[in-house]
Symmetry: D2
Subunit: 337 residues, 4 copies
């Protein structure tokens, strides 16, 4: 196999980015088909992507497109069923996070992956593909900071997106599932153990509308791992300076800090305001390289017959922990896994 | 009153620094007397400080020294009784943190302060006098970050001092009381509310000896305030890069970060190691200006007949919260104040 | 025209990168042909690029390849003649810097460009396409720093490449022409005036072999513009920390600094060495995004019938100034243009 | 000698700071006398310093004050004559920079120092006493960056002080002598050789009034040392972000950078402006520790019978080079020393 023929489902904001990357920036991928319920999105694809086949139905795409692999970037509620169906039809599957929105869904996916071991299955934990996070992981592997025992990781979105997020909360999983899922995955990745205990707090400090929906705009969570390590996982919908994802890994010999200042570029301004830098605006700007690298890795796993490092059970774990965080936040008590 | 005559008790490592500052760097203070149980320390004072009067007994100093004010830098277990005695004898009193090691002691101090309202009483929460923390406080007061609702604050000591700390733990209050007391005070100072709920975790990840003493070498704590704000308070005895005290104040309009990189000075080295900076070694190096400013403030309060911003009840609160953190850590459960 | 068919000449280290980018990362380019005198390089292209046509002769490629545009990444001595020939044969032309190695060559190019105004001609001043430099340019355009009157710009390569550079110097133009050509272009771009006066100094402080060849390993140059502005242009072949390209633009209202610390990524390490970051290794790592953006701009200019902002006269100016810097350095005196 | 009795002449802005430091922050100094032509300044001293003796005449102070040492902080034009007189009267002498404003004055001072070898003589090159510069000097001494061969050093003052400086220029030595004197001294200190060749440029880019006085508001200078090393010395009167003194020392194994970002304190603000820090306002804020350390060193040299590292010939060199820079700037040509 020289090139992988691929069909994508979902052409929302992030879906369009994935489609563009697959069509243009992943040398060994051929984007053959796109599927969306939204005709305007298909029109966009027709104009921008030179993709031969357009589908309004996911089942149609699976049945009729000339593809080897399916890339799932649809709404979270469809992730699990589409992934399962695609696996069962013999396709390699990439699925955006969250892998599933219930544990039942996750279990079904794990089962399907188990039954189709010759197919590549990858969950989109994009931060694992970011050059800085990969560099950190390599440093940890060399023993540069000894044994990691504490991870602090946070995801903060620009306050100006709060209104958009408010809509999203209505159908999404809430701040812990929607925003911390990457932090959860990173903490597990760096610590190499499972979280056993969760205590989460938060409130709507800036936008009371989130509270009305049972959600929060700023949260923190103290998690404990089976091996005794700890994590502090935070989320904010009210950052005014920019999209601010950062992670600290504390080990027995040193500390790694990743992205502590979300500088947009290499420019600093010195003027009557003092010294200042512009910050990153959104997660895509921060993780663009990671999104491209994750697509390349998916394609290369298929071509080389390799399995990705990320497993279906990582997707399950992130969902389970996000749900436990939500429960702890709502009940005001410690949750044991 | 043009100058304040002062007597100091306690000439340990920090006590010597206080004594030097009072003798040399606080224009309106006259260090008239020093008291220590340790003759070698008195010898040091005789040689270095030009202080006329040396005492082996605190009571003797109170009775015979020609002083207006007492500076208490003795071991923590003596703080409360010496402060109370000095207040009752009519002296102005500065006492190092912790103000007391039990709530009973704290209550007695508060009572004594209440009964001697003409005397200045100050607890050594030195970080409130650090130029960067003061600057941050002023920014918050101007509304620069809106309403603060989350404080993250940590105190980390160099790993090479762990052995020394191990000894100290045997008689001290443990990592929460000994190290986080300043973070507790800062969180209360910036949030302006009282902590009502505590969840603390930690372990001995690097030096198992701390666990044997019922203590830990790395801890984190999630605290909730009565007004709904939150704090993450961390401590570490195992920093390899330097003494690392830093604090973040998250508000409804922006964030202040204080001391995120504990650079020792303004020098950066660019060499085959990449780009690197040396870090601060210990709390005194970090807070030297604060220690001098706190002494000046104490003296100026006396001269000007002012009361310091820090009250006895701030000392009580820090002790109460540190004890709650310890309890939560030991019992593995949420503690409600 | 939906896609631009392109042929590249030169498959050295940088040429391979250009070829890969054109083949894979520039959506509207079709790399149809590659040309190299070196059969191993053609073999590489055959294997990696899926390019249908391979040529050992530049003239053959012009005559027989099915192409619209020529991308010149050959040795500097061939740039001008190949660019001129390609223009005369009706192709759009991209040429790597330097545009020419003599003023006569530059004049001939300018003449050829003049005579083929319907063809796109672009010199590879890649830094103008770097996101940080573009951002700085936009800030200057908005008046953010008032009127720029001083540019400091430097190019520093890793010391470990000095041996390679030593070989390169034997046939190249020396440190001013080979390394400062980008800094010269940036200074002209930001100041918007022509340099009238040059004073350059330097020596071989680390590797005496450069002196033996009449060259230097570290240089500085003070240039004055016709409008009175100034520039400090520096070069070093002996950076131990990394490839360090940085630029400061001083204006009447503020200063922009671009890339002052050449951090490799967003990771910082805090350990017994203090706090440190790894640095960028080479110019390609620093300017990868710029190289891709420059290729996209070239292709889009062709498709949209636009002319690039960079003109042939900018290529001439960089060569002329680099030669004046060399003369000043060699004669030890001020050179007036 | 247990304490050094000292008299200060000059109570301008900087003189007041020196007087306060000597009276309050230098343990082994007794400020016994102050001298000023300005009665209001003497009044200030009487009120703030508890200094017993006040003089309107320098000669009177030398004749009648009970002092061991003289601290000269008067206007530059008086430095040399007062220093010479004080030396001849047997006093230890500290003199602010510049040591003299003509080479004749400098020669006379050198002669006087030569004839009074038992007296301590110190020129106020305060940056040599700054903790960061000292740290850098120690690193260089350990060979951390190999052999230094290039120094870049600049002094920039806030634009809002330009009006004040405009007055000062009328009687002072101009931008090179008034502002670069410290950079000259640092370059000589780190390179350890003498400057042999100077090329300086500059203009009044922001405030044309400086040009009318034959001066400039922004300058750069390329200097060459006898040992082949180079220096770039810059000055600006038009910094909008703060007082910005920084220095880079490039060596054969690495680079030291001192003060590249003139952060005022350890606070960073993250808000809708991005991430920003306030900057230092003036040289005194930047070098306060250095001013105190320089006073302590002067006093300790006297008590311990030591000679300071800074010699009278360092003062002469700074004046000579500042004059050569001025000449190069005015004549538009290279000046050879």
């Amino acid at each position: 196999m020289e090139k992988v023929k691929i069909g994508i489902v979902g052409l929302g904001r992030l879906g369009k980015r994935h489609a563009f990357n697959l069509a243009n920036l992943v040398p060994k991928a051929n984007l053959q088909a796109v599927c969306s319920l939204n005709e305007a999105e298909l029109e966009w694809a027709k104009k921008e992507l030179e993709t031969p086949q357009l589908f309004l139905s996911f089942e149609d795409m699976l049945a009729h497109a000339d593809i080897d692999a399916v890339w799932i970037a649809s709404s979270s509620v469809f992730h699990a069923s589409q992934a399962k169906t695609a696996l069962e039809h013999g396709f390699h599957v990439f699925v955006e996070k969250p892998m599933g929105v219930t544990l039942q869904e996750c279990a079904e996916i794990e089962h399907a992956v188990q039954n189709h071991q010759d197919q590549v299955f990858l969950v989109g934990f994009v931060r694992r593909f970011d050059p800085s996070y990969r560099y950190a992981k390599e440093l940890v592997a060399t023993g540069a900071i000894g044994t990691p025992f504490l991870v602090r990781s946070q995801t903060c979105d620009l306050d100006e997106y709060a209104e958009f997020q408010l809509e999203f909360v209505k159908t999404g999983g809430g701040i812990f599932l929607d925003m911390n899922v990457h932090d959860i995955d990173l903490a597990r990745w760096f610590i190499g153990s499972e979280i056993k205990e969760i205590y989460a707090k938060g409130a709507s400090y800036v936008h009371p509308e989130f509270a009305k929906l049972g959600d929060a705009d700023n949260t923190v969570c103290l998690a404990t791992f089976e091996n005794g390590a700890m994590a502090i996982l935070s989320a904010s919908r009210t950052a005014f300076h920019g999209h601010d994802t950062h992670t600290e890994i504390v080990g027995s010999k040193g500390i790694l800090k990743i992205g502590m200042t979300p500088r947009r570029n290499r420019v600093e301004v010195f003027d009557s305001m003092g010294v200042h830098s512009d910050c990153i605006r959104d997660f895509y700007e921060r993780f663009e390289e990671g999104f491209i690298a994750e697509a390349r890795e998916f394609i290369e796993c298929i071509i080389e017959g390799r399995k990705p490092e990320i497993k279906a059970r990582d997707g399950t774990a992130a969902t389970r922990i996000g749900m436990a965080m939500t429960e702890s936040f709502k009940k005001g008590k410690v949750v044991y896994m």
